[in-house]
């Protein structure tokens, strides 16, 4: 095979500009740099939070001070100066917004550029959007439709004001502030996020969606998402992320908590496209997120689907605790790394309930100089009988400078469990390419075809609106890499 066109293709891919790398000129309200109890009090005061939430933050902060950033991940993380980050940045609020017309036009423009129109057009696609810019939620659409069904979907800080009891009841029950270093940090300084509550027996008629964007420089984004599905409820939730192009690294440490009661079902999809840094690995977002769901009631189901193409460093393990009997958990992931990106991602499936089942499908694609790791845990508790897990983790290597690694931890404490794990690592085979070439498909298209086919298992699980976006993203990131 002629190697020249391939080299051109690599060049093309690596030179590909990050297309969401614009900065929006919006007046922003900053807190001073650094982190101490005063900053936390300031954040809490700005958001007019109740006393118990401030206490929660301070407790988390005091715990955070006692622990160190973990080093076990297969990642090369330059030291982070936690005092050099702005922990609160928000588009300046003029007054309470009543309708879309009052939203800053620049802001609307930003979201239009991202392809999320906050206005009525969205009714056609039936998506309710909560857009979070820097640290605060800007606008939630479709409140009326949702409230008809008794569904609460609003920004986190609003929920704290309107439904403090609900928030208090569930906050930190799935990811306690003691869980890990970044969870503690987030619990101390989280500024906003989304809160979603589906009452008993309600099937949410819309896809709910949150769009996160970091805009201001030197800021960290620490949002918190809390989803509660009561008995028999169903919700499909989507999350998208972008950030401007900057030379310095920015920290994103979010927490997502999902609670599924008896017979409830929650589908959580992420298309993560934070700025990955330039082709020399300069800049980019550190995406250190704690995501966890609990199938609390019997027969409940949680499904994570993620397409990870952005971030300089991705370090997250969307996990499920299968507490109820006959519960189901799924994890579908495509992680793409290019240039100097690093990813250490995977999942944890903790089986506590009887007859609980989990499926893990993870597809890693590494190109350039990137390192892509899958790290997963499947644990069967002693009393969890008749559990079933199937894991499949495949890695595709494009280029000889990148790495793909697999760490599947399997811990079985029960004799009735059936656990299977399989993984393969390979490159796109010459045979496949030859087959396509022979049929008049050029190498570039053939690779696109093969990669999309490879990731199909996961892409099929995404809601329609996201699947299109994800497929586009994949082709942008990988279009015609080496064979």
């Amino acid at each position: 095979m002629d190697s020249n066109p391939n080299e051109n293709i690599i060049e093309k891919v690596t030179n590909k500009e990050y297309e969401f790398g614009f900065v929006t000129d919006i007046e922003t309200d900053f807190a001073p740099k650094g982190l101490n109890e005063d900053i936390i009090r300031l954040i809490s005061a700005k958001k007019e939070e109740p006393e118990w939430l401030l206490e929660f933050r301070l407790k988390a902060y005091r715990h955070w001070l006692t622990i160190k950033q973990p080093t076990w991940a297969h990642l090369n993380i330059p030291p982070i100066d936690y005092q050099d980050i702005i922990y609160y940045a928000a588009p300046k609020k003029r007054k309470e917004l009543q309708s879309l017309d009052e939203v800053d036009p620049e802001l609307l423009d930003t979201f239009n550029k991202l392809g999320i129109s906050l206005d009525e057009q969205k009714r056609l696609s039936g998506v309710a959007v909560d857009a979070v810019m820097d640290s605060t939620s800007v606008k939630t659409t479709f409140q009326d439709t949702l409230s008809k069904h008794g569904i609460i979907f609003m920004s986190f800080s609003e929920a704290v004001k309107q439904y403090p009891d609900l928030v208090k009841k569930y906050l930190g029950t799935v990811v306690p502030y003691t869980d890990n270093f970044f969870a503690a940090l987030n619990s101390a300084v989280f500024s906003d996020g989304s809160f979603c509550y589906i009452p008993k027996g309600v099937r949410c008629p819309l896809e709910l969606s949150t769009y996160f964007r970091i805009n201001a420089a030197n800021t960290g984004q620490f949002e918190r998402t809390l989803i509660v599905a009561e008995e028999g409820a169903y919700v499909s939730y989507m999350e998208g992320c972008t950030a401007p192009q900057r030379d310095e690294n920015q920290l994103h440490a979010a927490i997502v908590e999902i609670i599924a009661e008896t017979d409830a079902e929650v589908k959580y999809s992420t298309v993560q496209n934070w700025y990955p840094g330039d082709k020399d690995g300069k800049g980019g977002i550190y995406n250190f997120v704690t995501k966890r769901g609990i199938c609390r009631g019997d027969r409940s189901k949680i499904s994570w689907t993620q397409v990870e193409t952005g971030s300089a460093i991705t370090w997250k393990y969307p996990s499920c605790i299968l507490k109820g009997d006959d519960t189901t958990a799924e994890f579908y992931s495509v992680a793409v790394t290019n240039n100097y990106q690093q990813a250490d991602t995977g999942t944890k499936m903790i089986h506590l309930g009887k007859n609980s089942r989990s499926t893990i499908i993870s597809k890693g694609i590494s190109a350039g100089y990137s390192q892509n790791s899958y790290r997963g845990l499947v644990r069967i508790a002693p009393n969890a009988s008749n559990c079933r897990n199937f894991s499949q983790c495949d890695s595709l290597l494009l280029g000889d400078k990148c790495g793909a690694h697999t760490w599947p931890y399997i811990q079985c404490n029960n004799d009735t469990a059936i656990l299977e794990h399989e993984a393969t690592t390979s490159k796109i085979s010459e045979d496949q390419l030859f087959y396509c070439n022979q049929r008049g498909i050029d190498t570039e298209k053939a690779i696109g075809l093969i990669v999309n086919g490879y990731a199909k298992d996961v892409l099929n699980k995404l809601p329609m609106e996201f699947a299109v976006e994800a497929q586009k993203l994949l082709s942008i990131t990988l279009e015609g890499s080496v064979g």
Partner: protein, 462 residues
């Protein structure tokens, strides 16, 4: 409490080392002497590994370390026996409590292969020690390795010079016969030079029910085009602890096949590290563990593919009964330029009770793109449909169960290249599954009169 125990043991070791280092290293070559001192220094700094270390997290080996062990006053006995497995003709040597009898000389076989004591070999072949001893990489540098390097006194030495082919398998019988809680360090060296071929059977047995800790470290060097088959049979009493570290270095077109078969033994940890340094080399690492009661088996594997065009194959299977626990930690590392590597890892387990536990981690770390690497692991029970099928055809439940487990284990034992040994091990697996102590325990005395054993049904008619 446990920590205190380990610290005290550490202190004991350091004290012992300081007092008797001169005596131990009196006849050492300069290189070995230097290695001892470096290792002791490291041990003083780092001590024994702790459960906080990734590689030791699930291991129960550390629990076994306590101050009751007897480090120095280990009797040097001479047992006169040979292992007579039916029709298995071997060149046998035996070590009692990790040592050869004082008067025993190195054996030079007709074709020039040398077998015998490491201590003696160091004096007679110092040039080999300078070249090979202590040059292998080790999976995780830890206190057990350091203490072994610092304090070893004996072990077995096997040297196959260029172009030699071992006529008979070499059998090493290691017996623990010491009432006094011995903590034994054995240091072994296997050198297979280019074009040589060798089969080694390495048996670990204990005679009485006393507790013991064996810390054994074996370095294996395989030259170009050389072949080595290494069979390790582990059959100790329930109170013993065995830490078995094997590190191998393979040159171009060499072939290594190891079998680690753990029948019995309180706590066993097998640490196998293979560096593939020459193109065209192949290594097959097989393992089988059949454990029950509160036994613990921990297999730590690492294969480093440092050069292109090599194959490696790791296959470990286990059946866990009662409250037994097992750990499998496989690690394949493919270096950036090691293209065309084919690596396979597999760990399958059958758990028979709800108290048995298994932790498995097949780990791939790959930095080259043109490779075929895959791994799989499974944990499950006997296939109910297969059970039903057999029961429907008049095979009792008990026998059906046995047949399935036997078939599961046979996948490993079928790869054994010495016919008599394979038959013997097959037989032992059957007996083990039947619940009779398979026992090579009291090895010497039972092998002489091999008991015919068959399933109640005639296998040939199925």
């Amino acid at each position: 409490m446990e920590n205190q125990n380990i610290k005290n043991t550490q202190k004991q070791f350091i004290e012992y080392a300081n007092n008797s280092m001169d005596k131990i290293s009196a006849n050492d070559t300069p290189r070995v002497k230097q290695l001892r001192q470096d290792a002791l220094k490291r041990f003083i700094d780092n001590g024994f590994p702790t459960k906080k270390m990734e590689k030791w997290r699930n291991s129960r080996m550390i629990e076994c370390v306590n101050e009751d062990f007897n480090i120095d006053r280990i009797e040097n006995k001479k047992h006169d026996f040979c292992c007579v497995i039916r029709e298995l003709d071997t060149e046998a040597i035996s070590l009692t409590n990790g040592k050869f009898a004082e008067e025993e000389q190195l054996k030079v076989l007709e074709n020039g292969i040398v077998i015998g004591s490491t201590r003696k070999a160091m004096q007679e072949y110092p040039e080999l020690f300078e070249k090979y001893f202590g040059t292998c990489n080790i999976n995780d540098n830890n206190g057990f390795y350091d203490i072994n390097t610092a304090l070893w006194q004996d072990g077995f030495f096997i040297y196959a010079p260029k172009n030699t082919v071992g006529e008979k398998p070499i059998q090493i019988i290691k017996i623990i016969d010491e009432e006094n809680n011995p903590f034994i360090q054995t240091r072994n060296l296997i050198i297979v030079e280019s074009n040589a071929q060798l089969q080694i059977i390495d048996c670990d047995d204990s005679i009485k029910e006393q507790s013991s800790f064996v810390n054994s470290y074996t370095e294996i060097f395989i030259g170009e085009n050389a072949q080595l088959e290494n069979y390790k049979l582990q059959n100790l009493n329930d109170n013993s602890s065995l830490l078995n570290t094997n590190t191998a270095k393979q040159l171009a077109n060499s072939r290594l096949q190891t079998h680690t078969i753990s029948f019995n033994g309180g706590k066993i940890r097998n640490n196998i590290h293979v560096d593939i340094d020459g193109e065209g080399a192949e290594c097959n690492i097989y393992g089988l563990y059949l454990v029950d009661k509160t036994q613990h088996v921990d297999n730590q594997l690492k294969v480093n593919h440092n050069v292109p065009n090599c194959n490696s194959n790791e296959k470990f299977k286990g059946i866990l009964d009662n409250e037994a626990t097992a750990v499998f930690n496989g690690h394949v590392h493919v270096a950036p330029n090691a293209q065309k590597t084919i690596a396979y890892q597999n760990n399958s387990n059958i758990i028979l009770t709800d108290k048995a536990k298994i932790n498995t981690l097949p780990f791939l770390e790959i930095y080259a793109d043109d490779v075929k690497c895959s791994h799989g692991s499974s944990i499950g029970q006997l296939d109910q449909e297969a059970m039903f099928y057999m029961q429907q055809r008049g095979i009792s439940k008990e026998n059906a169960r046995m047949l399935l487990m036997y078939a599961f284990a046979a996948e490993i034992s079928n790869n054994i290249g010495i016919d008599a040994l394979r038959e013997r091990i097959d037989d032992m697996i059957k007996r083990r599954l039947k619940g009779e102590l398979s026992s090579c325990e009291n090895c010497v005395f039972q092998c002489n009169t091999p008991k015919e054993y068959d399933f109640k049904i005639d296998l040939s008619k199925i």
